[in-house]
Chain length 219, copies 2
C-alpha cells in the first residue's frame, strides 16, 4: 500500500505536534469509539514474535484516580528531594500530571508470560516484551494526537502502587499510566524546553556513521 | 494545531500498514535527506524529563553488516534450540532479518547518564530512559512507513556483540538494530500472523475497566 506525499506530511505533522500534556486537559467526555480507535492503534504496534504482551486498563472512576493521585504525591515528594537546591525550587513549581483533570486514565501493562515460555525474537534480549508495550504506547500517543486528544505519561509513581490500586497480577508489569483528554491547546514546544528546564539536543551530535564517534556532520 | 479528518485517516493508514520487514528489501539507495527526516522524527519522540537519551548509528559499510550478521547467526543457532521439536522446524524455516539486504542499518541506543544524575520523571521508575529510546524507535518506524520504507527490528543478537562491533561505550545501552530500505511490497498482515505462528489477540480480551479483570466487553 502506497503512502502519498500528503499522507506522509500528515504523519510528520502529527509527530511534530504531539506533546506530553499535564496542564491543558478539559473535562469534556471522550466518546467510547474514539477510545476504541486509539486502543486499536496501540494493538497494531509491532511486538516481539507477535507476542502482543499488552493489556489496557481504562480508568474513569474518580475514586481510583484519587488513589493514583495520592501515590503520585508521595512519589513526587521523594523526587523533589533528589535535585540540587536551585533545581528543587524549579521542580516544585512544575505541574507534572493531570490525573484528576483528564477524563480518562489508561494503564498499559506487559504480560511477560504471554505466548511463552519461549518467544521468537526474545531469546537474546529478554526486555523485548517491555519494549513492545512501549511501542504500543507510542502508537496510542500519535493516534490520540491525530484525534486532537492530549496525552501525558505519569512516571512519578511506584509500580507496586499501580499494581495494588488496579488489582494487577504480580506477573504483569505496569509500563505506563497515561492521562488522556481534550485540551485547551497544544503547546508549540515541549513544556520542559519552553520553560528552560533542558534544551533540545542538536540531532547532528547524536548521529554516528558506521560506528560510535564517527560524526561526519560535525566535521 | 488542529489535525483534520483526512490527516487523522493518513495517520491510521500508516499505523495499520506498518510491518516488521525481513524478506522484501530492495538494494535501492535511500537518499540522505530521507534518512535525515526519519531520524528527525525519532528525535521528536517523547522522553522522560526531556532527557533525549538516544543516539543513532547509521550503518552502510558491508563489512560491519557482515559482522552483525555473523552475530545474528550465532544467537539464532542458540535460539532455535529453545523451542519444542515441532516449533524448532518451523522456526528454522523463517527468515528473521534482512541485515545484508537492507541498504541501511540503524542502531538506536540509550545513554543512561545523559542530562543526569537526577532526571525529572525518572526518580520512581529507572527504566523510563530505555522506554524513551523505544518511543523514538516507534516514531522512526512510522516515519519510515510514511516514506514507503520498510523497517525491521533485529532482536536476535546479544547487546555486547553490538557494543563491540560498533564501538559503543559501556555506559550506553543498545536498544535496537534496525534494517531499513525500500521494499518490493508490504505484506497485508504481520508475517507471523500470515504464516500461522501466532494468532492476533482479540482486543476486547485485553481491555479492562477501572481495574484488572473487569471486562465489560466480554459480558
Amino acid at each position: 500500500m502506497h503512502i502519498t506525499e500528503d499522507e506522509r506530511t500528515a504523519v510528520y505533522k502529527t509527530i511534530y505536534a504531539r506533546r506530553d500534556v499535564r496542564n491543558e486537559f478539559k473535562p469534556d467526555e471522550v466518546p467510547q469509539e474514539v477510545i476504541q480507535r486509539i486502543l486499536m492503534a496501540a494493538h497494531h504496534a509491532p511486538s516481539v514474535g507477535f507476542m502482543q504482551p499488552w493489556d489496557f486498563l481504562v480508568i474513569k472512576d474518580i475514586k481510583i484516580k484519587q488513589q493514583i493521585k495520592n501515590e503520585f504525591i508521595k512519589a513526587n515528594t521523594e523526587a523533589a528531594k533528589m535535585f540540587n537546591e536551585k533545581k528543587t525550587k524549579e521542580y516544585k513549581a512544575l505541574k507534572l500530571e493531570g490525573i484528576l483533570e483528564a477524563p480518562i486514565g489508561i494503564c498499559v501493562t506487559c504480560d511477560r508470560t504471554r505466548n511463552g515460555p519461549t518467544v521468537l525474537g526474545r531469546t537474546s534480549i529478554p526486555e523485548m516484551d517491555l519494549y513492545s508495550s512501549v511501542c504500543a504506547i507510542q502508537n496510542m500517543w500519535l493516534a490520540a494526537r491525530a484525534e486532537n486528544l492530549g496525552m501525558g505519561w505519569v512516571s512519578i509513581i511506584h509500580n507496586d502502587a499501580l499494581q495494588r490500586i488496579l488489582n494487577i497480577p504480580t506477573h504483569i508489569v505496569p509500563i505506563a499510566y497515561l492521562c488522556i483528554g481534550y485540551v485547551t491547546h497544544f503547546r508549540k514546544k515541549p513544556e520542559l524546553e519552553e520553560n528552560g528546564w533542558i534544551e533540545r539536543e542538536n540531532l547532528e551530535k547524536l548521529v554516528h556513521f558506521d560506528g560510535w564517534g564517527n560524526q561526519k556532520y560535525s566535521k
